[in-house]
Every structure is written in structure tokens, then in C-alpha cells.
């Protein structure tokens, strides 16, 4: 048996062991306190067959992807400008380091007041969750472009604008990429918070609402969906990054083979 098949087998065994442990634990504590895998699967099937689960996943994914994309699109140029212009950086840096400690969830009520109860407030919240992480990473990237690269471009006749386009931005790509990947994680946290407090649909709503019926199995279904959604999007983003941006030095950190 080759190494790859061995590794695959180990993975399968690991997951089976985990499921068995989970099932055993649920037998000890009872399905209301800790629903086991079988119980959870039944609950999941229930939610799947009436269509709510897929609908909720779709809604949550849509909110996250929209807010995350918009947030990143705005944050990257802003980060580059802050990194490149010293005067702006002096003022922006303390502000960024102040605001990054305020978690998106703390803003939920304010965002509802400012942007209404509809989709806008949720998407804005995701944008907020994405924005500062991407800015800070982009900024760090711009600041760490080696002086020799800029100097050599300059003595080969590049204008300051050309240096930004052809040296600073390409050199910053790995930092930007790390930033948007990290932002994906905070986006998921933010959307669940928002959906728990102010929504009638979505995975966060499912998790929160299930408490009314004491359906702990539905809560588990929600948790597993969240994990899978995050895992899959991160893998897809990492793969796209590796495929499209490898020349900029973007490498996948989650790749199983070292």
C-alpha cells in the first residue's frame, strides 16, 4: 500500500473513531443534552427534506460571500494607499489598531439602526468584519516590500506610479491573500451573530431558533453546516490562490502533503 492510501485510510479511521466517541458520549448523557451522530443525522434529514436547511445555507453563504467580496475589494486599495502615503499612515495606524479590537458583533444593534433590519445591515457587518483585517494585512505587505526592489525599479526608469503597479502590488499579493483568507473566518463569526439576533433565516437563525423547541440535534446540524461551509470556502479560496497566484509566492498552508 502506498503512502497516500495509508494516509487516506488513517483519515477515515480518525473520523470513524470520532463518530464512535460522539455516539458513546451521547448514550451516556442522553440525546437531549448531547444528541449523537445518528440522532443528528435524523434531524438533518428532517431539515433537508423540507428544504429549510439548503435555503438557510444559501442565505448565509450569500451574505458572507457578498460582504466579504465587497469588503476585500474596498480594503485592498485603501490598504495600499495607507501603506504608501506616510502622512495618512501616521493617522490611520492608531485608528486601525483601535478599531480592530471591536468585534463585529458589538456593532449589530448600531448597524440595525443605521442600515435597517434587511440584508444591508448584515452585508455591512460582514464588510466591517472583513475590512480591517484585509487593510492591516495589505498595509503590512506594502511596508515590507524590500527597498532594493523599489530602488532597482526606480533606477530602471519606473515612475512612482509604475512602481506601485508593477512592484508594490505584486510584492504585496501574498499578504493580501492571507488577509482575505483570515477575513473569511471572521465573516462567518459575524454572520452567525447577526443572524442569531436579527434574522428570520440563515444558519445562525437555525441554531438560535432551535432552542425554542429544545432541538439540540438541529443545533448540531447548524454547527456542522457552519464548519463545512467554512472548510469548503477556505479550501476553494486556497486552491484558487494557489492556481492563480502561485507566481506571486502564494502557497497553500492547509495542504495535507507538506
Amino acid at each position: 500500500m502506498n503512502v497516500k492510501a495509508k494516509k487516506g485510510l488513517l483519515h477515515v479511521l480518525f473520523w470513524i473513531a470520532l463518530l464512535v466517541l460522539w455516539q458513546l458520549a451521547s448514550l451516556i448523557y442522553g440525546p437531549e443534552i448531547l444528541p449523537g451522530p445518528i440522532y443528528t443525522a435524523k434531524g438533518g434529514y428532517e431539515l433537508l427534506s423540507d428544504g429549510t436547511l439548503l435555503q438557510y445555507i444559501g442565505i448565509s453563504a450569500y451574505r458572507v460571500l457578498l460582504g466579504w467580496t465587497l469588503g476585500s475589494l474596498i480594503a485592498v486599495p485603501v490598504g495600499i494607499v495607507i501603506g504608501k502615503v506616510g502622512v495618512i499612515r501616521i493617522f490611520a495606524e492608531p485608528f486601525l489598531n483601535f478599531i480592530r479590537f471591536i468585534p463585529p458583533i458589538a456593532f449589530i444593534t448600531l448597524f440595525l439602526v443605521w442600515f435597517g433590519i434587511g440584508e444591508t445591515s448584515k452585508v455591512m457587518l460582514i464588510m466591517y468584519a472583513t475590512f480591517f483585517i484585509v487593510i492591516l494585512n495589505t498595509l503590512t505587505g506594502v511596508m515590507s516590500v524590500e527597498e532594493d526592489k523599489i530602488r532597482s525599479a526606480r533606477s530602471m526608469g519606473a515612475s512612482e506610479w509604475q512602481i506601485v503597479i508593477h512592484v508594490v502590488i505584486p510584492a504585496t499579493v501574498p499578504f493580501i491573500f492571507t488577509g482575505i483568507r483570515l477575513a473569511m473566518g471572521t465573516s462567518f463569526m459575524a454572520i452567525i451573530g447577526a443572524e442569531m439576533i436579527a434574522s428570520n433565516e440563515g444558519v445562525g437563525y437555525l441554531i438560535w431558533n432551535s432552542r425554542l423547541f429544545f432541538r439540540t440535534d438541529w443545533i448540531f446540524v447548524g454547527l456542522i453546516c457552519l464548519g463545512l461551509m467554512g472548510f469548503i470556502t477556505d479550501r476553494v479560496v486556497a486552491m484558487l490562490g494557489r492556481k492563480a497566484l502561485s507566481r506571486y509566492g502564494v502557497v497553500s498552508t492547509t495542504s495535507l502533503k507538506r
Binding site: 532594493d148 530602488r151 525599479a153 505584486p170 509566492g249
Partner: protein, 258 residues
């Protein structure tokens, strides 16, 4: 015969570079009262101990740092900023090459900044890739190359812009002894084929003697100066084993023994 200075001649008069120490408030000279004339087409080596300000002098000629007082002229023009007439080959290829560009794209960088059409770019890059012996490696990325090959890329990259002057900051310092010898030999050949003025910084007496038409000895910093200039009457390629070589070596070595 014209009395006008040639475009690849360098005149340095009473050049000072100092910085003020914030705490003490007094002036510290890195280099002090440097006078030097480098003739067009000359291979001039700046030799001195580490930290003596050789690189600072090179950066002043390149226009990367501003002088405190004195004059640096290239041809008739006072140096104020980097210019395409003065190409710089940096010590660290990794920090100065663009890792997201292939060998050919690196070599064509300056031409692309000047918006030279692709066909013409290709023609020029072909010529210099061949000159530095990198044929067959055009589509590799810098990370796929050895240290010596990376320095060849740096050389081809600056030569393709047809600069009048090459400023080289210990470019072979990080290479193993064998590669270094090859690179030194080839640099001399390339210099003989083009009519560039070369200023080459090193702290290696043997390297200085292998390369330089003249060798300027810099005193240890701070307040470093060019204390002596040696004319090296040996023909190229130079013979390490020749008695004249040894005589000069001992003579120069004596400067650093005190």
C-alpha cells in the same frame, strides 16, 4: 578632441554624508571629503573594510540617498535622484529581483516601463540573456535559479536598459568560491564587450585585483575617505599566480594590517 566630460564619467568633489545622532545632537560623518574622478569606460573598484561607507558612496552616486554637502556629477549633470544612466547591481539578488516575474520578464522590466514594444523587448532581452549565459532559462522564475544565475539575471536586467554606468555593490559576496571566480571572469568579459563605466564595491582584495583597472582604498569608518588609489597595470584575464599579482596583493594588504 572634446574637453566636455563624457556621459559615463563620474566626478566627486568634497563629498560628505553625515547623519545627526538624535540623542547627542552632534554630527556623524559616514564619509567625509571624498574626491574621486572615474573616467568613462573605466573599471573602478572601491575596496575597504566592512562598514566603511563603500555602499553609502555607491548609493550617493546612484542617487538613492541625498548627500550632506559636496558634489557628485555624472557627465555634466549633478546627481539628484536615481537615473537610467546609472544601473545598480545589488548584493542580494533575492531582495532586488522580482520573484513574480520570469527571467525574461525581469530582464525586460525596464523596457516595459519605457513602453518599448514587445517585439523589440524580446530582441533586446534575447541579446542580454545570451550575453550573461542564461539561454534556456528564460521562462524560469528566480526561485528556480542558483545564486550565481540570479546575479546573472540582475546583470542582464540592468544591461538591457543600456546604462552608461554600472554600480555594483558586492554582487558576488554571497556566492561560493567557484561560482564567484566564473562570475568575475565573465563580468570582465562583459565589461570589455560594452563600454560601460563600472564602480565595483568589495571588501575582498583578491576580487579587487582580479577586476579593477584602478582600486580606491577606503579607510575604516566613521568619517571614511578614499586614502589611496592604485593603478593596476596587469592585463586581463588576470593570473592569480603571477608574482606581480602577489606583490600588489601584499602592498594593498598592508593598508588593512595597521
Amino acid at each position: 578632441m572634446s574637453t566636455l566630460p563624457k556621459q559615463n564619467e563620474i566626478h566627486i568633489e568634497r563629498l560628505n554624508k553625515s547623519y545627526t545622532q538624535q540623542s547627542a545632537g552632534d554630527l556623524h560623518y559616514i564619509i567625509q571629503d571624498v574626491d574621486l574622478v572615474v573616467k568613462g569606460g573605466e573599471f573602478f573598484v572601491l575596496l575597504g573594510p566592512s562598514g566603511c561607507g563603500k555602499s553609502t558612496l555607491l548609493s550617493l552616486i546612484a542617487g538613492f540617498v541625498s548627500k550632506t554637502s559636496g558634489q557628485v556629477r555624472v557627465g555634466e549633470k549633478e546627481v539628484e535622484r536615481p537615473g537610467q544612466d546609472r544601473a545598480v547591481v545589488f548584493q542580494q539578488a533575492d531582495s532586488s529581483l522580482f520573484p513574480w516575474l520570469t527571467v525574461r520578464e525581469n530582464v525586460e522590466f525596464g523596457l516595459r516601463m519605457k513602453r518599448i514594444p514587445a517585439a523589440k523587448r524580446q530582441e533586446i532581452s534575447d541579446q542580454f540573456i545570451a550575453l550573461v549565459g542564461l539561454l534556456g532559462h528564460e521562462s524560469k522564475f528566480p526561485r528556480e535559479l542558483s545564486g550565481g544565475m540570479k546575479q546573472r539575471v540582475q546583470l542582464a536586467r540592468v544591461l538591457s536598459n543600456d546604462p552608461a554606468i554600472l554600480l555594483m555593490d558586492e554582487p558576488f559576496g554571497a556566492l561560493d568560491a567557484m561560482t564567484r571566480r566564473t562570475m568575475q571572469r565573465e563580468l570582465v568579459k562583459i565589461w570589455q564587450e560594452t563600454d560601460k563605466t563600472v564602480i565595483f564595491v568589495t571588501h575582498d582584495i583578491q576580487e579587487a585585483l582580479l577586476l579593477g583597472g584602478r582600486i580606491g582604498i577606503m579607510s575604516a569608518g566613521p568619517s571614511s575617505r578614499i586614502t589611496d588609489i592604485y593603478d593596476i597595470p596587469l592585463s586581463y584575464p588576470r593570473d592569480l599566480a603571477a608574482p606581480e599579482f602577489h606583490a600588489l596583493y601584499s602592498q594593498i594588504q598592508a593598508h588593512f594590517d595597521e
